[in-house]
């Protein structure tokens, strides 16, 4: 599936929820289901420090696509991280570098991306795109 198809699917999933509780329960669930990041990758290098919670991001190339694994110490951020991984992981580096991430806003979660200092999510998106750019130039 293309990046935008995955985003549209997530928007569709979230459109089913009328109440904030179900929306956040879904995010929490996704956080819980995210495969734990191997402790070996929870390094100082892979850490994206927010003021309150931490996010770890590990990136690697496999079969010409860029893959991401990530984790966070806060469960809601972890759920959001899992959505970002779901949308961006497994695509060509140039697609990731150029991706227009609109799903957070459409789902009504953009305030979490705006909280740059507290949760590091915005920095994570930036970092994922930077990996895309970096691997794109290596491939060329």
């Amino acid at each position: 599936m293309q990046i935008n198809e995955i985003q549209d699917e997530l928007i569709e999933d979230f459109s089913l929820f009328d109440e904030w509780e179900s929306k956040y329960e879904y995010i929490i669930d996704m956080g819980k289901q995210l495969a734990p990041l191997n402790e070996a990758y929870k390094t100082e290098e892979n850490i994206i420090k927010g003021c309150q919670s931490r996010v770890w991001l590990h990136a690697y190339i496999e079969d010409d696509v860029l893959k991401f694994e990530a984790d966070s110490d806060a469960i809601i951020v972890k759920g959001l991280v899992s959505m970002l991984v779901k949308v961006l992981s497994g695509h060509k580096p140039e697609e990731i570098a150029q991706a227009d991430l609109y799903f957070m806003e459409r789902i009504g979660l953009h305030q979490h991306l705006a909280q740059t200092r507290s949760n590091g999510l915005a920095s994570m998106v930036k970092q994922m795109k930077t990996y895309g750019l970096a691997y794109q130039s290596i491939n060329q």
């Binding site: 329960e25 919670s53 979490h112």
Partner: protein, 408 residues
């Protein structure tokens, strides 16, 4: 609930309390970060711009004189509020952080030398740590830290042992922003003076709750921010004893702080203007007077008594929640409850309470060394002001039960 205050009437003074957040009426429990502003302060702010706005002190026209006189009226109001000896001992700053930097960069740089010791405490806000680290690095002075016990109280014996003829400055917080602990500042000051050290008290979290008398305390410097006292943002105060302020070199150069300028030499203005370079935050200073009037009309002892009821009510109710632990259980506290919940990250608590219209603060509260002392990454902090109610605390408790259910 309060005998002396009509809380519903007080709430009506604060327009923002009518806001609806995520579909629910706002519960504002982030008062230690900043309090909301009563109509009286908002009116004063708007009134200044509508009827008095002009640059102050050197103008000859009517509005310049009016603005100057309103600006200086706040200074005298603060003198009265702190019971300072002289109005020129009141310096306007941008806030507590700015005030501490002023003292560290002027008094510190002028009078500290290698081997001198500066004492702070474990529960300091970063703004009362970093400025001293900077000046210590520059002068070779040594920073020492008073430890605390598990309840979040200063170990006064350790403090006493630390004091010596090397101690030149003590800078401690009156009330801890993260824990709510009220420190025994009178005793701290008296013991520091006994070895000849000067003392700054960071009153950012104290002024809204505790009656102050800087002459009785005998502190050398006292500092606070208006926005935590129902006043405007961007405005604070540094109180300093005249003889010290006189001895200190100026901080920022520019207009207002000079007597005469030539390219060869500049002479500086007198107190308090020596430390007030440039056009100050006139509107907020003028409006701040309304905040002091507001607090004094309610009466600080009444405010403190009511807030203490809220603190007791909240402490009891929160302690009943399974897995919740209050961090900071000092015998003397203002209305701040900081807590952690087993297995739940504070940020998740903050996000889910926000969804329920409840504003709390989560994180390290700019006191990372204090969090390290307790071995935690951060807390959730609910801090109460005079307009809060027990019904709101009930909503916090219900909110936390929901958080537990959702994350359990």
């Amino acid at each position: 609930m309060s005998e002396n205050l009509n809380i519903q009437q007080i709430r009506a003074d604060f327009p923002i309390l009518n806001e609806v957040i995520n579909g629910k009426p706002l519960v504002y429990f982030d008062n230690a970060a900043t309090t909301q502003k009563p109509r009286q302060v908002l009116d004063a702010l708007l009134g200044y711009y509508e009827h008095s706005n002009a640059n102050i002190h050197r103008g000859i026209h009517h509005l310049a004189e009016k603005a100057t006189s309103e600006f200086e009226a706040t200074r005298r109001r603060i003198q009265e509020f702190l019971n300072a000896r002289l109005s020129e001992e009141i310096i306007f700053t941008y806030g507590t952080t700015d005030s501490i930097n002023l003292v560290a960069q002027t008094y510190g740089r002028a009078f500290l030398k290698a081997g001198d010791e500066v004492i702070i405490s474990t529960m300091e806000h970063h703004s009362n740590i970093v400025p001293w680290q900077m000046v210590c690095e520059e002068t070779g002075a040594v920073l020492r830290v008073i430890p605390i016990n598990d309840e979040g109280e200063l170990l006064m014996d350790e403090y006493e042992n630390m004091l010596s003829e090397r101690t030149k400055f003590v800078s401690v917080v009156h009330v801890s922003n993260a824990l709510g602990t009220i420190n025994p500042v009178a005793e701290i000051i008296q013991k520091a003076h006994a070895v000849g050290a000067k003392v700054l008290i960071d009153g950012a979290q104290a002024t809204a709750h505790i009656d102050l008398d800087v002459q009785a305390l005998d502190c050398d410097f006292y500092t606070f921010s208006l926005h935590k006292l129902y006043g405007p943002t961007g405005m604070g105060t540094l109180y300093g004893k005249k003889e010290l302020l006189d001895a200190m070199p100026p901080y920022r150069g520019g207009g207002e702080m000079i007597k005469e300028v030539t390219f060869e030499k500049t002479t500086y203005n007198e107190l308090p203007y020596k430390f007030e370079a440039g056009t100050p935050n006139i509107a907020d200073v003028v409006a701040a007077k309304a905040a002091f009037d507001y607090v004094d009309t309610l009466g600080k002892p009444h405010i403190a008594a009511y807030e203490h009821e809220l603190l007791t009510y909240a402490t009891d109710a929160l302690q009943d929640i399974d897995g919740l632990r209050i961090v900071g259980q000092a015998k003397q506290k203002v209305s701040v409850v900081s807590f952690v919940m087993e297995g739940i990250h504070h940020q998740d608590i903050g996000v889910l309470l926000d969804q329920q219209g409840i504003a709390v603060r989560t994180g390290h509260h700019c006191t990372q060394p204090l969090m390290q002392r307790f071995g935690i990454a951060g807390t959730t902090r609910a801090s109460f002001a005079v307009y809060n109610t027990t019904e709101e605390i009930d909503r916090l408790v219900q909110g936390l039960h929901k958080v537990k259910k959702m994350l359990g």
